[in-house]
Symmetry: C2
Subunit: 494 residues, 2 copies
């Protein structure tokens, strides 16, 4: 076949995969936002049908022949087409290596396991969940073997969320965090949370703040909608249609404020991917960690910075006059950067957050290696929370059952949260060479910052693996020390 | 093939068609409710892909063979399977008879025509729209010929929205309406609209009223969600997931109140279709007119009845204390049943509404017959509004350009609105034989009423053509006189 015709077929294939993904994404977004509670079974039928079609569109002999054909002529391909071919071949290989029956069984088991986890979390009864977790773990380990039997299972799992990542790199990151942070935290006595943090801020005013923040972030509002859900998230159907969500608590205005900035960071990444990559395999973030780096960049390095908070303070006072009456810029700054070890990851401050990840990293490494059994997991969890964060776990609901990830077989996912923060600090370090970041933040002028990230990170989509993108953007390989230094500075400042 | 296997294939086919329909429906609902404004082109790509898949799932030789095979053994089929086969064969025939190129060209032209109509409506410039309307009309006429060359084109069009309907039946309906209503209206002097109709009713209180009405209507809230859109509509993905929408105007609380009751009637129909018909070709209303009969039954025969309004009045006064302070039940009743000829169909009262339909019926019949040209349409429109409603049309925006239907090629659709009202009155007449309807309305006890409609209409879905369903439910063929009598009574009462 002519190369031109093959490229045309590749584009058609990607359009097809995109269309199924878009439809499934829309059904899921609808489910999370406005669908009536009793509609899930009916939607499940449609989702499962579309997911089969999506699978069949990729996993078939014609596609195999097309991708192998393109690969055999890889010297003639431009960089983008080459990478698209490579990414799709990887997906195809992965799906092909897992026997279809096991894949289906796994889907059933993770579905059941997620339900059991929900029930267990509600009552705190870990025993209800444990047998399912054991099964999910078993499948995940086996699947890692199918993917690559030559490497340790946990490294294969890490690689599936963060291409190229391994436990050696993460060990280095976490040991550096441990050695620099734990002594500092041990001698840190948290201040009392100021009363204004829990003062009543009407939801309508918080909605106005969200709209203002989206504007300050420079999100294209005609291509990004804000919805309300229990747990905030971002979903990008394409750069032309991104959704972010938040949750409003009357007595915690910072919660939604930082959700909007965090999800806004994800959305800016989606909106920044090059036009010519849309609807192709490149139209996504480079990796989970890289996507998280953008949300955390905006949330923590922009949103909690002294400059930006001082810029934002007058608007906050205008929107929440009763809550913020007499609150100084400095008091706001301190409140937004308060550090206090706690039990629940999603409510943790920036500094103690990676310690929550460290607990999970240590435990899932052992679970996958088989040196820790799912039966002994809660005890190990509680011990590590005591050791790393100095807190006692009162029950499993706020302990080992707090996150859904493991119930869905997502072993190796947690580290991407910490990696995201670390990448963000490395980007900031590099950006400071080109821009007077503090001056821009103080003026609330985020456009040059987003343009820098746009031209160094966003526009490339999945063109490069995360490690390559990081090195191209910052001029050096992964350096956890910028992150550690940043956290030390936050801890000293509060 | 075994009959059992063929039936299984039929079910699979319907599931597939349902799944594509569900996905496209979800994308459209999302577009109408929460999608960002700039996302339509990206969504268009996915919708067009899914629509091709939907088409290909039905229009192919295997399906033709299956449906013909089932049809050849129709004596062995149960009523539901027989009807499912028949409906799908009709769809297949219709799609097969129109050449694919013409179908695609038609889609492009109606798309352009809709856009032109929107632009023309905004400025009132009919000339911008006319050439496209002429093309759409031309295609519609040709397609009617493909469908059935032996009957007048307009009858074929009517039949596509209301199976079995023809212009002879409609001529009888409209001439009866004309002869009974126009003299009465000529001597009717409308009262001034009372001030409370446009008093401020906060949107939050109107939202509370919507929730209350959905409860009084007996809608299953776990399977029906309410959203807000510019124009109210109902969309049922299945009986397990129905969406209704409304629009709140601070100074017109009756507008949203009757939208919710009207769309609620559509939703009750969807929710009432038998479980065993779900995801099959039977899982829909019997026809456009029949669906409309249910919305209008609740809106007009329930919602504007003296009994129900008196039942509702205390709640309205509690929700809108400032607006309804000192307003008597009788004043509310008169306001909800005010009759005054006006320019715009969607804002018309119950009595003058069918005259708006009559104008469109007369005009589209002539357009399709070729006795009226699209160039002369505005003049003819204005003349008929003067003749039937006694009003002068000041500009085309509120005149011939007010509705989008013709721009989308929906010739023959308007009469279903009037038919719906007429069916509703015939159902009410029959229901009164079995139930003390007035006593139930006065107690706000709608369950027995909905149960009657459920067992006589809703549960059958598309099992029967509308005329058969009507006769089975009411014991007689279509009788427009119940509708005319009802409108006369309303007119006399106000």
């Amino acid at each position: 076949m002519e190369l031109t015709a093959m490229k045309e077929q590749l584009t058609q294939l990607e359009r097809e995969l995109h269309a199924y993904g878009h439809a499934m994404g829309c059904l899921s977004f609808d489910a999370a936002t406005v669908a009536p509670s009793g509609s899930s079974e009916a939607r499940g039928l449609t989702l499962s049908f579309l997911s089969e079609k999506h699978y069949a569109a990729l996993v078939n002999p014609q596609v195999r022949e097309l991708l192998d054909g393109l690969w055999s002529r890889r010297d003639e391909l431009d960089a983008a087409t080459l990478r698209r071919t490579q990414l799709l071949r990887e997906d195809l290989d992965e799906l092909t290596r897992i026997p279809v029956e096991e894949y289906a069984a796994y889907a059933r088991i993770t579905n059941e396991s997620s339900e059991r986890w929900r029930a267990a979390k509600a009552t705190g009864d870990y025993a209800v969940f444990e047998p399912l977790l054991a099964q999910v773990l078993d499948y995940s380990r086996r699947f890692a073997g199918y993917r690559d039997a030559t490497r340790p299972a946990y490294d294969v799992m890490l690689d599936s969320y963060e291409k190229g990542m391994d436990s050696a790199t993460l060990d280095a990151l976490f040991s550096m965090l441990r050695s620099h942070l734990t002594p500092l935290l041990a001698s840190h006595s948290p201040s009392e949370p100021p009363a204004f943090l829990s003062a009543c801020c009407p939801v309508e005013s918080q909605r106005a703040l969200s709209a203002y923040l989206m504007q300050v972030l420079g999100l294209d509002g005609s291509r990004c909608a804000l919805a309300e859900t229990e747990h905030p998230f971002t979903q990008g159907f394409s750069k032309y249609d991104v959704r972010i969500t938040t949750h409003y608590y009357e007595n915690a205005f910072l919660s939604s404020m930082y959700s909007v900035i965090h999800e806004g960071g994800h959305a800016l990444y989606e909106q920044g991917i090059a036009d010519e990559y849309q609807y192709t395999a490149l139209a996504d973030g480079a990796s989970m960690g890289m996507h998280e780096s953008q949300s955390r960049f905006y949330e923590n390095l922009v949103g909690r910075s002294a400059g930006f908070l001082r810029f934002l303070a007058p608007t906050l006072r205008k929107l929440f006059p009763e809550a913020l009456d007499g609150v100084s810029d400095d008091a706001l700054l301190r409140a937004a950067n308060r550090v206090e070890p706690s039990l629940v990851r999603t409510e943790a401050d920036e500094v103690t957050y990676p310690l929550h990840i460290m607990v999970r990293y240590d435990l899932e490494k052992q679970l996958v290696a088989g040196t820790l059994s799912t039966k002994d997991l809660p005890e190990a969890w509680n011990a590590l929370y005591k050791e790393y964060l100095g807190v006692d776990v009162p029950n499993h609901t706020v302990g080992v059952l707090q996150d859904m990830h493991w119930s869905e077989g997502m072993f190796g996912y947690f580290p991407t949260y910490a990696l995201g923060s670390a990448y963000a600090s490395q980007f900031m370090h590099a950006m400071r060479r080109d821009l007077d970041v503090d001056a821009l933040l103080a003026r609330g002028e985020l456009a040059p910052i987003t343009q820098w990230l746009g031209s160094h990170v966003h526009r490339y989509g999945k063109l490069y693996p995360p490690a390559v993108l990081l090195e191209r953007a910052t001029g050096e390989a992964f350096q956890p020390r910028y992150y550690v230094e940043h956290l030390q500075a936050v801890l000293k400042g509060c």
